[in-house]
Structures are given as structure tokens and as C-alpha cells.
Symmetry: C2
Subunit: 230 residues, 2 copies
């Protein structure tokens, strides 16, 4: 939609990978719609995933006993978070839609992207007790997890060895995005692209481009236990 802002948080080492192509397809299609698209290319940025004292500029609130949650909350108030975090927060603040594009690593996102969640979504910025879940501070934004898997779709079913794919979406969609008040669109999953033909990988890219054409008309999922575990 013209005027809409999209942030793509992207975690793949190889631009020529399917993840790289999925990211490019999204930039292209959404730009064509008139959206303004920003990409945080985490590996290219050498984004820091470790939550440490370096995230706070200047003095600590309590230098006797380092508590990352407390220190980043206080540093956020004082505008004393490290500049890489402030930049990411600015991108999030401006975005109407966050797309997370990554290969599934161990039933979750790669560590570099988990580090983005751990460090960027600071208390006071993304949530503020009791303002979490439906009243989280990032309400009125949308998020979409777009990822590739190693295993096939059959393994990720209720009777399959890896269980329903929705089981592993719970921490990411509910525990992170919903917690911050963000509404979650259905995930976009490309199963086992390494084991399909070049032709099928092209179809995966086309399907993503196609979905993006009508993305703004989609309703968020009902991000409750029923969606995940029934």
C-alpha cells in the first residue's frame, strides 16, 4: 500500500540463497506497491547478538550487580542505549510491518536474529508492565515470520517426527511479537528448498510475490494457544 513502511529483518550469509531471493522479492514487490522498505541485513551489518554491558553508554544504574533488563530499561529512558540499538528501534518505530526472513536453525531463528530480539526490544520501548500482549507498546504493527526449513513438510505435522510446525512458532510469534502487542500474520514457510528442483524453488519465489500482492488485506491470526496447539 502506498505510504506503508516495512522493515525486513534478514538473516542469511549468502545473497544468492533462497532466503536472499525471498528478501529481494519482498523488497521489489512491496516497493512496487509504493511501500517504503528498509532492510536490516544482520550478517552484512555484523549485528552483535550478545546482550552485554556495551549496550549501555555511560554509567550503569547499578554497577555492583549487572542486570541486563534493568540496565537497558534505564538506559532507554536516558537515551543512553548504544547507537546500533537506537537505529534498529527507530526502524521498528517507523514500520507498519516487520518481516523476519531467515532459515530455521534448531526449531528457531538463527542466533544473530535472536540477538536482535534480545537487544532491540527493550522494556519501555517494546513493552512496559503491565502493557504487554494486547496492550504491548508496538500495537498497531504487523509481523510476519518468513522462513525456510531443512526438513520436509511431512516431518512438521502432528504425527510427524518434528511435530506440528505451529508448535515451534509459539515462542517467536506469541512469546516475542504478541508480547509486544504486534499482530501476527500467518507465517510464510518454504519447506526443504535444498531438496527440491530449481523449478520448484522458482515457484516458491513466485508464491511469495503473489502473497505479498494482497498482504495488506490479510487478517492477523488469532495468536492464542488454540491456534498453536489444537
Amino acid at each position: 500500500l502506498p505510504g506503508r513502511k516495512v522493515l525486513i529483518v534478514y538473516a542469511h550469509q549468502e545473497p544468492k540463497s533462497l532466503n536472499g531471493s525471498l528478501k529481494s522479492v519482498a523488497v521489489e514487490e512491496l516497493s512496487k506497491q509504493g511501500c517504503s522498505v528498509t532492510v536490516s541485513d544482520l550478517y552484512a551489518m555484523q549485528f552483535e547478538p550478545r546482550a552485554t554491558r556495551n549496550d549501555i553508554v555511560g554509567c550503569l544504574h547499578n554497577s555492583e550487580m549487572f542486570n541486563y533488563g534493568v540496565e537497558t530499561r534505564e538506559a532507554y529512558k536516558r537515551r543512553e542505549l548504544s547507537s546500533d540499538l537506537l537505529e534498529e528501534q527507530k526502524k521498528v518505530q517507523e514500520a507498519d510491518l516487520l518481516i523476519f526472513q531467515f532459515p530455521l536453525y534448531w526449531f528457531s531463528m538463527p542466533a544473530i536474529m535472536k540477538g536482535w530480539m534480545d537487544r532491540v526490544l527493550v522494556e519501555g520501548f517494546a513493552y512496559q508492565f503491565p502493557d504487554c500482549y494486547n496492550s504491548g507498546l508496538l500495537k498497531n504493527k504487523l509481523a510476519l515470520f518468513s522462513f525456510t526449513t531443512g526438513g520436509s513438510q511431512e516431518t512438521y505435522t502432528k504425527g510427524g517426527i518434528s511435530g506440528d510446525i505451529r508448535y515451534l512458532l509459539w515462542p517467536m510469534q506469541h512469546g516475542i511479537m504478541h508480547f509486544c502487542g504486534v499482530k501476527v500474520l500467518a507465517p510464510h514457510i518454504c519447506f526443504a528448498p535444498e531438496y527440491v528442483s530449481e523449478e520448484e524453488r522458482k515457484e516458491m519465489l513466485l508464491a511469495w510475490a503473489q502473497r505479498l500482492k494482497t498482504l495488506w488485506k490479510e487478517e492477523p491470526i488469532d495468536c492464542s494457544p488454540e491456534w498453536y496447539f489444537k
Copy 2:
């Protein structure tokens, strides 16, 4: 048990934290039993969480198109993984029990520990298709997730806002440890230590020490969907 080897993978920035104390209690109690205990103190080691080309020493299998899974699998065969990974793999190989000690960050482990999983548990070392889950290469080992939460126990129940705590254990216990063939002991969870009295925190440490006394007699959980979602 005398002679048993334990690896504690520990992720907290502050030695004086409850996580730091829980780690120390485990070292002390298990050593007293005659176990040989090794600690990987991830923040102190400045452990690298990012999965990159730097993990492969020397030439790539395919330098045209970087695929982290393929490259680390091939580098493992050639003994050309970076030395920090080889060291961690040696510790895992020797261990009878892996204890993961961390504060829960966003329904999961901190990025620095996720990076340990992403980088250390290489194909060929931890699993080798079709040898995964019950036939994973790390079978005959045990794992235990020991962590602290921000939220109270009531929030982590079926009717609670954050859902049953077991839901978020699925990716870590089943998706990672069980996938590698490791048997999983019941998690050890200290709920909301920041919101209880000093006295109650001491009781948490005592309870952990107490549990460790009979840990080797425990039966692993049945790491199947029923345990997590029924």
C-alpha cells in the same frame, strides 16, 4: 556419581546473579559427588554466536554459494572447523550430562547460548541423517535445562497469559537435544527470582543443590508431543 563428567553451559553476564549462584551450586555439589565438572562461561569467553564463514578454516566446499550447514558438515569431516568449535565439541563428547544454565529471554535461551547450539552441534558430530532423534549421535548423554524467568509461575500455566511453560520447552528440549539423541531430564525452573525475597532466593539455591544429590537416579522425561502439549 564418581567418574561422571558434566558440562555446564552457562550464560549470564553477572557472577553474583542467581544464575551465577545456581551454576556455582552445581559445580560444588557435583564435584563433591566426585563428578568432573567443566563450565563453558559463554559471556566470559566472549563466545561468538554468529554462524559465519569464519567457522571454517581453509577453503570452502563451495565458495560460489555459501551454505552454512553444508560447509560445517564438510569442515567437520576434514577437521577444519574453527578451534573454538572443536573445543566445545570435545567438551560435549566427553560429557555424560549437559546442564544449560540461563535466564529465559523471550521464551527461549539468550542469543549467545542459541549461537552455541547453532555452531557446536554440527552435522556429523551431533546427528547424521538418518541418525537423528532416538538415534542421534549424542545418545547416551543427558541434558537438563535450568533457567530463571521474569514472569511468575501463574503466568506460565495453561490458562495463564504466557501459556504452559512446557510449550516453550519444545524447541529447546525436543528440537535440539532430542534431535541429537540426548535424553532430557525434567527442567529446573526458578520463577521470577527478581520478585521474591532474599530468603526465597536462598531456598531456590538449596532446592537445586538438593535435587542434584539424587539427579543420577532420575529417569528422563518422555520427550514426545504428549509431554509438552497434553
